[in-house]
Structure formats: C-alpha cells, structure tokens
C-alpha cells in the first residue's frame, strides 16, 4: 500500500468518525466543528482523487464560510434550557439508515464497474486506434491539453475554467442565478422584525 492509498483510508476513516460525531453528539457546537473537520477531510480526499481545484473550492467554502454561518446560526438560536436533541423514534431512523447502507454496500460490490477508460471504450466497441482526444463520453473542450488514455490527468484551474465557460456555460449561468435568488431570499426572509415590509402609503389628500 503506497502513501496515496494509506492517506485515503486514513482520511476516509477520520471523515466517517467525524460524521458520526456530527449526528450523535449532544453538544451542538461540537456538531458544527466536527462537520467542518469532516468536510475539510473531504477536501483532502478530493486531492487524493486528483481533483485539485475542487479540493481548494471545498476547503474555501466549507471550511471558510459554511462553518462560520453554522456557528452564527447555532449561537443565534440558542434554546433556554438544555434540550433533547434526538427524536423518540431514533432507532427507526438508525434502522432505515443501516438498511440503505446495506443496499448500497451490496450494489457497490456486486456491480461490475468499468474501472478505466480503456474498459469503457472496449464496452462500447471503440477501436484502439482512435485519437487520444476522443473519449467514450465525448471530445474534450477545444484547446485543453489531454493526457494519453490510462494516464491520470489532474484537471487544473485553467482546464476547469475553460470547461465552465465553454461546455458548461449554461449551467454556470443558472448556478449564478440560483446564488442570486438565494442571496435575495435570505435577505428578505431574515429581515429584522422592526422594519416595515410594505410600501409606505401615499399621504392622504
């Protein structure tokens, strides 16, 4: 087992332990901090899965802003006394989660996954002499340097930027609209209680 594999297993185990801490602990602030730990370790796992830019995005967004937002929300909604944090029917929820995990575990092990690009190309019947820019799922965006088939290719920020503005331009714009709507919605919904929400009435004649 080389360093990459060992790091993945260590990070995965730590992430699962932190996730269990998020859903099981009785202190809500511990939940928020353990969530930040779990999601930052997920960023490490993205690095090990050869997604450098995504690891950066993950740590910036989840380690930077989501953690602050969650701690603010927890502090602003502090209950007066120590509350009960779990429903009475939590064994049923645990049973449901375990059943779903059993189904996913079985399917992960029983499905014959295509584990490499050459497997995928052989599955669809492509000949081995096709150019390196043609993959079974389409051509790469123009100008992006492509690796030989079978080589791990780390997509850098410039590659992802080119793809976001050429192939994925429409989803990118829609995501911008989603962020704008969420921002405006959060401002409107969380407005202070004393501010007037209606238009001022015109002065009486």
């Amino acid at each position: 087992m080389d360093l990459g594999q060992f790091l993945f297993y260590a990070a995965a185990a730590a992430t699962l332990i932190a996730s269990l801490g998020v859903v099981l602990t009785r202190h809500v602030v511990y939940s928020a901090l353990l969530l930040v730990l779990a999601l930052s370790l997920t960023g490490l796992i993205y690095l090990l899965l050869l997604a450098d830019f995504l690891a950066l995005v993950q740590i910036l967004i989840y380690g930077g802003t989501v953690s602050v937002l969650l701690v603010f929300a927890l502090m602003l909604t502090r209950p007066q006394e120590r509350p009960v944090l779990t429903h009475r029917g939590w064994p049923l929820a645990a049973l449901g989660a375990v059943v779903l995990f059993a189904i996913l575990l079985y399917q992960s092990l029983a499905t014959p996954w295509l584990t490499s690009v050459s497997d995928a190309r052989a599955a669809i019947g492509a000949t081995p002499g096709v150019a390196a820019t043609a993959t079974p799922l389409g051509r790469s965006p123009g100008g992006v340097p492509v690796a030989r088939l079978g080589e791990p290719f780390r997509a850098g920020p410039s590659d992802i930027g080119t793809a976001l503005f050429s192939t994925w331009a429409v989803p990118f714009e829609i995501a911008s609209l989603v962020l704008l709507v969420a921002l405006m919605g959060a401002l409107v919904v969380a407005r202070a209680a004393g501010e007037p929400a209606a238009e001022p009435r015109p002065p009486a004649p």
Partner: protein
Amino acid sequence: MVPLEHILIFSAAMFCIGLYGVMARRNAVLVLMSIELMLNAVAINLVAFAGRLDPQRFAGIIFAIFVITVAAAELGLGLAIVLRVYRMRTTVDVDEIDLMRW
C-alpha cells in the same frame, strides 16, 4: 490506486450517516448540517467516477462544483428561514414547529 468499490462504500456510509442525522435530530440547524453531509457524499461519488472514467472531460468534477454551489445557497437560505422561525416561536425544535400539521 484505491479500488473504486472502497470509495463508493465510503461515500455510501457518509450518506447514510447524514440520512440518520436528518431523520433523528430535532434541532433544525443540525438537520441542515446533516443535509450537507449527504450532499458531500454525493460529490465524492461524482469525483471518484470522474477520475476513473472521464479524466479528459472531468464532467464529474464540474458537476461536483455545481453541487457545492447549490448546497451553499440552500444552506444560507435554510438558515435564514430557521432564524425567522426562531424569531417567531423562540424554538428551532422541528417537533414543536407544527403550524402545518393537521
């Protein structure tokens, strides 16, 4: 290289832990945190498949970027709603916010 099945089992475990948190926790903010766990498990799945099967076009990585974007937007809006509810009812216990129950 880590076998693909191990990555899928890890993300399935994280998803199911998040699912338990959504179903069993009573604080609305903790429910939103568990939703974040589920969304990140899905993103790990997408990135794992992108690395194995689609390295040149990395569609899974782009998809995961959009998942993170929408998750952050939904978390912000959800927390605004939770704050508004807290202002009205002084509680964020999902069992006590039952205005729409028949």
